[in-house]
Symmetry: C2
Subunit: 328 residues, 2 copies
């Protein structure tokens, strides 16, 4: 194939056909792509749905992230939202905006990343839309099934519950800082920090942990997209409780990030508390529950009414979490 072929050398139908070769289907799909709409099974008569958009120069830079990683990431962060309800991802639709000069090879790689991430999550791409545009954007909507189980909302945390976390924490933020520092110094990325950079580009949300937490009786859950403190605050608000995070555990979680901290000059504890986009599962469980595999206790739900997140000991909690629109 001509490696220099670009999106503008093909029509929409041809591009969609190329894209589709990288996708596969499951038996949950009653009707796949190609008609006006797709049809997906919703076994228990309910469908769980969430949407997210990745925008060039906002969430990623084309020069920094490989297309395959971007495809993977666009799916991973969305299926995490389904997992955070205690549900199972079933199907995905994708609305893709691509500049006409994007290499077709880049599109192939993007599709490959999406296909792989979907297969890993047990979901199928059942439809999509493709448009030209000045900047790349990738809108992904994921459908999921609770398979008859209740949903784990943000609002169910009760005083006395244990706060627990599954998955990486602060790795994505550390990876971003390592990338920046390496670029400033014109360094190659140090080999033992590559894993953080990889997790920055492609988070690995612990999807199974969401369903397991649901079965174990989690009272509240979300996936950490804006940092443990800010996301714990969301549970605190929705549940009307105070959450106390254990500083000792924070330091423990920061330990693997120590080398990245030294290299970049940042405090690893801040990555643990404020680093988003790892999409770990932050859940609360009744104290009587044995934490399911993968979860580590990081704090406690305290007396109701305050809707605050406190971290014991002198760990700085300012400037953690982030917002797209807020001008700093």
């Amino acid at each position: 194939m001509d490696q220099s072929a670009r999106a503008s050398d093909f029509n929409e139908t041809e591009l969609i056909a190329r894209f589709s070769t990288h996708l596969s289907s499951t038996e949950e799909v009653v009707l796949g792509p190609g008609d006006d709409a797709a049809i997906v099974r919703a076994v228990d008569g309910n469908v769980v749905v969430s949407t997210d958009v990745l925008v060039e120069n906002q969430h990623f830079h084309r020069e920094w992230i490989a297309a395959e990683a971007l495809g993977h990431r666009s799916i991973a962060q969305n299926v995490a939202d389904i997992a955070a309800m205690g549900a199972r991802p079933t199907a995905v639709v994708v609305a893709l905006v691509l500049p006409a000069d994007v290499l077709v090879e880049w599109i192939d790689d993007l599709a490959r990343g999406m296909g792989d991430a979907c297969r890993a999550a047990g979901a199928s791409v059942v439809g999509g839309d493709l448009s030209a545009g000045e900047r790349i954007s990738i809108s992904v909507t994921v459908l999921g099934s609770l398979d008859g189980a209740r949903a784990v909302l943000r609002s169910g945390a009760r005083a006395g519950d244990v706060v627990a976390l599954a998955g990486n924490c602060g790795w994505s933020a550390a990876g971003y800082a390592v990338l920046e520092t390496a670029q400033e110094n014109e360094d190659a990325i140090p080999a033992h920090m590559r894993k953080f950079v990889d997790r920055h580009f492609v988070p690995e949300p612990p999807l199974a942990a969401g369903i397991v937490a649901n079965k174990a009786g989690a009272t509240a859950m979300l996936d950490v997209s804006d940092g443990v403190v800010r996301d714990a605050e969301r549970i605190a608000h929705a549940s009307g409780v105070t959450i106390n995070i254990d500083g000792t555990v924070v330091r423990h979680l920061a330990r693997p990030l120590a080398a990245a901290g030294q290299y970049t000059g940042y405090e690893p504890e801040n990555w643990v508390l404020g680093g988003g986009e790892d999409h770990g599962m932050l859940a609360t469980f009744p104290a009587s529950v044995v934490l399911p595999p993968g979860f580590v206790a990081i704090g406690r739900v305290e007396a109701p009414g305050q809707e605050l997140v406190l971290v014991d000991e002198a760990i700085p909690t300012e400037d953690v979490g982030w917002d797209h629109f807020e001008t700093e």
Copy 2:
């Protein structure tokens, strides 16, 4: 309120809260916005799903279309895909990309248009995502329910079937041409052509016709987004048939567009055959079926095997329909 306030004056949470005030909910919504995902009823154990994206400078120009009309249109064209399956729209998720300098008033108007269009379609906005970006884009995913009925696919047309159309045809294309001509001539838009311009900005897909066609036994259906000829070709391809469109009917459908044709110098018949984005329902019915209200017979499904669309008499069928990526 400060009329000059812009998106960048608010954070994401505040903008979403503003947006949400214009939306309403139905009893189909088990869990609305605010958690990691929403939950929507899927009464018959299946969910119909479709997605579309509107991109600034591709599908619309910010200076030309009012925000309320844009919001309306973004929903209307998507729910049309659900109707074209013979299904009923139930819920919507929206991924919105907005430049930081967009006026908050503009966002309010967009939300109002979306809310109104959703209410008209019987659907609720159950979730969304909001990101800053250089250009506006609006990705809408619609969920729908067949309520136990079969889906009307593109592939069911059989020789002998009647081809029928519900809704406007060529109005959006005529409206676009009128706009262009008025702008070139620095005219105000002639009053009796305003309705075509309105339909260009806000299509009015005949949603009820989709469900009615399903009940009446339609064998194939889609909504006309790229022109009757191109979309009839899709049915011809999927069904392995030839479709013959009646030139007399085309001239009949073109008659209301005559004044716009004169004003702009275009052939109204070409708008009828090639004009997209009216989102009328194009369906095939067994010859024995009495066409449901709103449908007009426009042709016949002929012997299988050719997968062509023919228009009898000397109506030009070239340069009809359009494609985003093809360079003309």
